[in-house]
């Protein structure tokens, strides 16, 4: 399994393009309340968060959709969910496939609820003994997890997978 760098790219949707980088336990706690560059602060706004961490993992551009397919398997196409509750905030997931292979998974939207939530997730995540696997690069037909509501489905990885075969 590949160790997934935990990077999140926020803000493609509404036109503001801040980048939130959460990089393991070494990174300073990003302040989700930090205002975006455009003013007009609101609780839902995931503005640019401090990422003074030097070697941040390759921050994805805000429009990662057309990543090159891993193999010459036809054009990649992607589907993005909206914003989903993930327990300590909200995020959206984008899945890009080439053929039936998932070639990229990005998180174009992240909103954490408050600094405490962020602390919790940063504490909890490194304690996992096994390596976390990004869906990026995985060939999967479905996702097993705790039952989501029909509202949460809309923005889930499963929904993104489904969209690839829906007509």
């Amino acid at each position: 399994m590949k160790r997934a760098a935990w990077y999140l790219v926020a803000g493609t949707v509404a036109g503001f393009a801040g980048v939130v980088v959460l990089h393991g336990r070494g990174a300073p706690a990003a302040q989700p309340a930090a205002a975006g560059t455009g003013g007009g602060a609101g609780p839902a706004q995931a503005g640019q968060a401090g990422s003074s961490a030097g070697p941040s993992p390759a921050s994805q551009p805000s429009q990662p959709a057309r990543s090159s397919p891993a193999a010459a398997g036809g054009p990649a196409h992607g589907a993005t969910g909206a914003t989903e509750q993930f327990g300590y905030g909200k995020l959206a997931v984008k899945v890009t496939v080439s053929g039936s292979r998932v070639v990229n998974v990005t998180v174009p939207v992240l909103q954490t609820l408050d600094p405490t939530s962020q602390q919790i997730s940063e504490q909890a995540i490194p304690m996992l003994k096994s390596e976390v696997m990004a869906a990026d690069g995985a060939q999967i037909n479905g996702v097993s997890g705790a039952t989501f509501t029909s509202q949460a489905y809309v923005n889930s990885v499963q929904a993104a997978l489904d969209k690839l075969h829906l007509k």
Partner: protein
């Protein structure tokens, strides 16, 4: 409306249909095989009809549903659709297999088969698809999956297990021959009730069970999510089933029998 997609380089195209029922979304992924056009739509429609029927019979939210009448003592199983007695029997079997960690009769408000009935409904829908002549199918009921056949020649269905704290990441990937269910509180909050105390349990972040029957796997996943390591030990003794537990502190354990893909 579902329709075939272009065959990809990796095999025959899957067709997916998403159906809202039972408060969640069911994803039906099929390899149509010889079924095309109206036949395919009919098969998917019939499978979805079983889901809505199960919803109507077993909804604990609808106060007029058969199971709600049963819960209030207004009806006995013999008065109700035959599925009620079937599900009660499966609940009984699962309760015994789980050592009582899954106990629909100990839930607040009376008999509540929620921890099993979604998996049961998925199996019913899958049986309809199988009977229709579809070559292969996987049905995902809000995170609990059952499948038959192969998604592509020489392949098995591959299922990611959602990471409990990272919605876009996986705790692992497994190949599924029949059924896999996962239970946890990270999607809908604390709803996993300890039958002994009547209170929400916090012994697991995520509990996954594989095995031949999704109804049983669903119930056993609920049991492990409620009972943590104690329930895991019980499930480890249930023939044909295997379990994988992520504890609230992020540490992991399992019964063996689940192989993660790399």
């Amino acid at each position: 409306m579902p329709a075939p997609t272009d065959p990809g380089p990796d095999g025959p195209a899957l067709v997916t249909h998403a159906e809202t029922a039972m408060g969640t979304v069911f994803s039906l992924s099929v390899v149509p095989g010889r079924l095309t056009g109206q036949d395919l739509r009919s098969a998917l429609g019939a499978a979805c009809a079983t889901l809505h029927h199960a919803d109507a019979v077993f909804s604990t939210w609808d106060r007029q549903s058969p199971v709600s009448r049963l819960r209030r003592g207004e009806a006995v199983p013999g008065d109700l659709p035959s599925e009620v007695a079937q599900v009660m029997a499966e609940c009984q079997a699962a309760s015994q297999a789980s050592g009582g960690w899954f106990d629909p009769w100990a839930m607040p408000g009376g008999f509540d088969p929620t921890g099993l009935v979604k998996g049961w409904a998925v199996e019913r829908a899958l049986a309809v698809l199988r009977g229709s002549g579809i070559a292969a199918a996987m049905v995902n009921g809000g995170g609990d999956l059952a499948a038959f056949g192969s998604p592509a020649p020489g392949r098995r269905w591959r299922v990611g297990i959602r990471h409990p704290w990272r919605a876009g990441s996986l705790a692992g990937i497994i190949e599924v021959g029949a059924a896999v269910a996962t239970s946890g509180s990270y999607e809908r909050g604390p709803h996993l009730i300890d039958p002994a105390s009547g209170l929400a349990s916090g012994r697991a972040a995520s509990a996954t069970v594989t095995g031949p029957s999704l109804a049983m796997a669903d119930a056993l996943a609920t049991a492990v999510a409620v009972g943590g390591d104690e329930a895991l030990a019980v499930v480890g003794g249930v023939g044909g089933y295997a379990a994988y537990l992520i504890r609230p502190d992020g540490s992991e354990t399992g019964t063996g029998g689940i192989t993660f893909m790399s």
